[in-house]
Amino acid sequence: MANATQTKDQPTVRAARRGLSEGWFAWMLIAPALLFIAVIVAWPLLETIRLSFTDADMNSENWVGFANYEKMLQGAKFLEIIGRTFFWMVLSVGLKLIVGLIGATLLNAAIPGRALFRMMIMPPWVIPIAIGCIGWLWLYNGQFGFASGMAQRLGIIDGPFEFLAYKNSAFYAAIITDVWVGTPMVSLFFLAAMQGVSRDLYEAAWVDGAGRWYRFRRITIPQIMPVIVSMALLSAIWTFNSFEIIWIFTQGGPRGGTTTMIIDTYKTAIGNFKFGEGSARAVMIVLILGVFSLLYLKVLDRVNKHYGVK
């Protein structure tokens, strides 16, 4: 793309832009956003860290050092909750990526009705999550819901089955709903990335006799890999902290079967008014996600290099 004039001009422009004035201008532009975040996110975060070293409740607040952390780490349940949270995240994100990729591929296929199909995947994404949950809640209802009713009609189960009343079924029911909420966005981002892939690549491969599956594997996937990888990270963080679905379905029950770290934190802090212990759990979430993201960004960097993205 570069032509002679551009290459000649660019160093001059660069030179004019460097220096104090550009730095100040840039900081003026980001300052409002940064200040806003400082007040609404950073300060509460520092406050959370401080509270995690106290026994704060509704009335009093005393410094207790690492007592909250010790208590939390010694609790038999805590490791189990961390494990469950990672299982929740990996399974749900994995499914979102797979279903999203399949969905995007279908929506990208040149078949009549495509425009209509693309519209029809929007609803779960654009409605309030809490409202989608109400629909699923009724679907999972054992006595009168669709899932149990259909399973009985088809002879899969004998009597009513209350999906949200048992540890495992409640967990997987929540996973399915979480995947349902997350899939449209993943699909649309993948679809957008697929449409950005140059047609020349496909045509060249086609002329050489490459079939659809080969083209998908060797062109589509590598080309959209950077989008897949960054979407996976964003999705992982959101899923890790996914709150509303589990809260509305089971509030972490039955018998703790759907208690993830965020639910545990909320229950401890808001449910039992143990602000100190709740804050220690919130800090743990931040630490775990921080380490996870750093590791992940290392991987992202490598993937981008491998696929030749700057």
Binding site: R17, F25, L29, L106, I111, V126, W180
Partner: protein
Amino acid sequence: MLIDRYSWPQKLALYAAMAVFLTFILLPFLEMFRTSLSPMSHLFHAPYEIWSDKFSFDAYFAMWKKVPLLGRYIWNSIFIASAVTALTMIFVIPAAYAYARLDFPLKNLSLGVFLSVNMFTGAVLLIPLYRVMNTLGLLNTYWSMIVPGVAFLIPTGIWLLRSYLEKIPRELEEAAFMDGASRLYTLRRVVLPLAVPGIMVVGVSVFIGAYAQQYLFAITFNQVAELQPLPAGLNQFIGYQTVEWNQMMAAALTGVLPVMIVFLFLQKYLVAGLTAGAIKE
């Protein structure tokens, strides 16, 4: 074109797969719609029947009487999401431009700070956030639901818009700058008009985020019934004795309908905008 041609078994497979995929996506809505049509007596009726001749739209009329503020809740949801979107974009546009185009000290570090906000949701910071809202005197106002929404959407907004702006050719800006236009003028008169499609796309994504996630802040920071958004207002269909499921479903579907219709038609621009942002130079 020939490359796009499918044999008929392939077509059949594609449509079948699409049908399965869309059933998964739309099933809860169909179930909500079926429930909204059923009289209460029919709802609590086993065995399960998909279709019934007792279906009626009665719930769609009764719901306005049962919860007189329903119209207000629907409006509140849209109003809160719109206000969040407008405010977020005011913060996002200049910042995204700075990250896309300018070189400045601590650039990567400050961008990292923004992105790390993604690691928190409101639920993690709820206790101190409640105190901040209290200190600022915002509890039980629209602001208590708008302000946290904006804070948690700014980072994604910056991230999305930045990658869009990076794709706009630099030549025009540089020409304006060489002609002696000030930086702010260049931003306002050269960059902004070029970035309109990208700004629209990011605005739409922010609105969706704001509309989808207002439940938690609403139930925690606001107790004024007149100000509640739809997801929180639906609780009023849950009575001491019975839950008016059919009216609740009718209200939920009616409430999201206006936004849904708008987005069905915006979807095309959304994908086009995301694509434009994804094309490499």
